[in-house]
């Protein structure tokens, strides 16, 4: 069996997941992991699937469109288990929030800053609330970085670009919203 990463986007309606999974079954494939959301009326899904070695990618795309809708955007690529860009250093999970008057470039500026510090964005949410643009990122911060310096940099960076930015360890959000305390690392 060969593993593939697939991403699927379409205008949301009922039946998309049923159609996609039907196609996988018909091709004697196995769905190993999936994550799906609906955002701004559009369905988006990313899957890890295994198919027999004889399958070609175009056939998978064709059958998914046949079963789930011809308007589906399907992207499929071979799953790579080694990530040359991913470091093996220890990280801690922080939540970065940025709020400011909506204007072009906020997400780019914030994400470019995080990238400059080798901080990976693991999850992201952004929306416009009134006149404000809100970005919430769950990030992995290498443990050898000084959090105080990062927070100060982020604060100054945000002020210079016209938004308010904060970075806080995820434990505070876990503690105040979930029935667990979160892991305290030394």
């Amino acid at each position: 069996m060969a593993q593939y990463i697939m991403s699927i986007t379409a205008q949301d309606r009922s039946g998309i997941v049923a159609g996609v999974s039907d196609a996988i079954l018909a091709l004697k494939g196995n769905l190993e992991a999936a994550s799906q959301t609906v955002h701004q009326g559009y369905f988006a899904m990313i899957l890890l699937c295994a198919f027999p070695d004889t399958i070609v990618e175009q056939e998978v795309t064709r059958l998914i469109r046949e079963k789930a809708g011809s308007d589906l955007h399907v992207f499929i690529t071979t799953y790579q288990t080694s990530w040359p860009m991913k470091t093996n250093c220890q990280t801690q999970s922080f939540i970065v929030t940025a709020v400011g008057p909506d204007k072009p470039g906020i997400l780019h500026q914030l994400s470019a800053y995080l990238a400059s510090k080798d901080i990976n964005i693991d999850d992201l949410y952004a929306c416009i609330d009134g006149n404000d643009f809100i970005v919430i990122c769950q990030v992995s911060v290498p443990s050898d970085l000084d959090i105080f310096i990062l927070q100060s940099d982020l604060d100054n960076f945000g002020k210079s670009k016209g938004f308010t930015a904060h970075m806080q360890h995820e434990n505070i959000f876990v503690a105040t919203n979930e029935l667990r305390l979160g892991k305290i690392s030394s």
Partner: protein, 456 residues
């Protein structure tokens, strides 16, 4: 990822609703420092404090920064100094107090509690030395806070001690008359003193807690008020629904304190003790217990219904806090310090909030008569009477009650006094029938323990 609306509500609590950790208090047992040579005792005290608490402020700043939550006060609480004074005289008391002052300064702490005597049944020579030294100690030192436990449900009320404390408080006020009697703001008289209270001025390190411990005092009047306002903005709600919202908010506030406390304790390699659920106000607008009562519908705090509203608030906070933490302790009650809550101070100025109503509130929820300014001509027996009334409430109801009374030399009822900063400002209260209880107090002795003290 966590839900985005929950992340945003936590951010709102931290950034715009004055949520903070009000106190991280390190308790240190000093009993091993006892000895006949007072110079050696003081050297041992200084060594132990400056060693154990060397990194307290630094670690608090690091942990607070990690979560971007202010840890407002870092404090120390030591084991009762009266135990170190056995076999010593009053000059030794001042030497120890000055050592505490210097040690606290060295480690960057602004207040150290534990200049304490537990005298609910009688006074030892060391305890008498401590009590008699209070005017000089509280005048000469900046950081030392004192407490005297004169009653308990098991023991009853030591009325000899109550009588003495009336005179001592008057003397402390006189010794600090240049500061409007401010020395009295550093002394609390208790019934059923808690051994793990992190808040000043009544914090001390009780026995049975080991050598060193971290106790946490949370706060969040602003968070609770905002939560109630949002609930009411959605439409007509009942008091039960408001209580439920307070409970949910108190859960979140307490979890912040628990998280911070456990992490500070872990970094310092010290046992984590308790989270005190008390909502502690400050003079800042938006950080007021009075504002919460106003939001609950009491427009003039002190009016009929105020005690019931405070009972609703305190009970809901306790329920939310108890679920949030398995280590709840300290006072965990409602703080209604008149000077330290701008809304309460204003209610007192306008005559809505009287001494009698404050006493009624302590009967079921509040922890005591706190930061109460009194006329300068108040008789010591009347001070003792106010203390005795408060002690009776605590003893009969098996709860902690306390008094922090400040006679203002030369001051009259209605005069405005400001201590500034966190100590706030407010009016001198009206005290009725000054001196009418002199015979009651002079009789002294012990008011026996109530029948409910027999629990076996």
């Amino acid at each position: 990822m966590l839900r985005t609306d929950e992340i945003l509500s936590t951010i709102r609590m931290l950034q715009s609703e004055n949520l903070d950790v009000r106190a991280v208090t390190m308790g240190i047992d000093l009993n091993e420092c006892a000895g006949p040579d007072i110079q050696l005792v003081c050297r041992k005290i200084k060594h132990k404090i400056t060693t154990r608490a060397a990194r307290l402020v630094e670690i608090c700043n690091i942990i607070g920064g990690k979560y971007q939550i202010p840890i407002v006060n870092k404090r120390l609480a030591v084991s009762p100094i009266s135990l170190l004074l056995e076999g010593h005289s009053e000059p030794a008391a001042l030497k120890i107090a000055e050592t505490l002052d210097q040690s606290a300064t060295q480690v960057g702490i602004d207040l150290v509690g534990g200049f304490t005597a537990l005298v609910e049944r009688g006074r030892t020579p060391g305890q008498k030395v401590l009590i008699q030294s209070l005017p000089e100690v509280l005048c000469q030192t900046k950081r030392v806070c004192a407490s005297v436990n004169v009653a308990s449900t098991k023991a009853g009320i030591n009325m000899d001690a109550v009588g003495v404390m009336g005179h001592v408080i008057k003397n402390i006020a006189q010794a600090t008359k240049d500061q409007n009697g401010f020395g009295c703001a550093k002394l609390v008289v208790f019934a059923n003193i808690p051994s793990d209270n992190p808040f000043m001025a009544g914090a001390y390190m009780g026995s049975g807690q080991g050598d060193c411990v971290i106790n946490i005092g949370i706060s969040g009047p602003g968070v609770i008020k905002s939560a109630l306002q949002r609930t009411k903005a959605n439409g007509t709600v009942s008091l039960g629904e408001l209580a439920e919202q307070i409970k949910l908010t108190a859960f979140r506030v307490t979890r912040v304190g628990e998280l911070i406390g456990r992490e500070v304790a872990q970094e310092l390699k010290v046992r984590f003790g308790i989270v005190d659920l008390s909502l502690a106000p400050t003079p800042a607008v938006g950080d007021s217990i009075g504002e919460i009562l106003q939001t609950l519908g009491i427009s003039a705090v002190g009016a009929a219904g105020s005690t019931a509203a405070l009972a609703l608030l305190t009970d809901a906070v306790k329920k939310g806090g108890l679920f949030a933490s398995s280590s709840v302790g300290g006072l965990s009650g409602a703080f209604i310090p008149v000077l330290e809550d701008y809304f309460l101070a204003e209610a007192a100025r306008k005559g809505h909030l009287t001494l009698e109503k404050l006493e009624a509130m302590t009967s079921i929820c509040s922890v005591g008569l706190d930061m109460i300014l009194l006329p300068g001509n108040i008789e010591p027996s009347t001070i003792s009477g106010i203390i005795a009334d408060e002690m009776a409430i605590g003893v009969i109801n098996h709860k902690t009650t306390a008094t922090r009374l400040i006679p203002v030399p030369g001051g009259k009822s209605g005069d405005e006094i400001s201590f500034g900063g966190l100590f706030g400002a407010g009016p001198i209260m009206v005290v009725r029938d000054n001196g009418a209880n002199a015979e009651f107090i002079e009789q002294g002795g012990q008011i026996p323990a109530p029948v409910r003290s027999l629990t076996n």
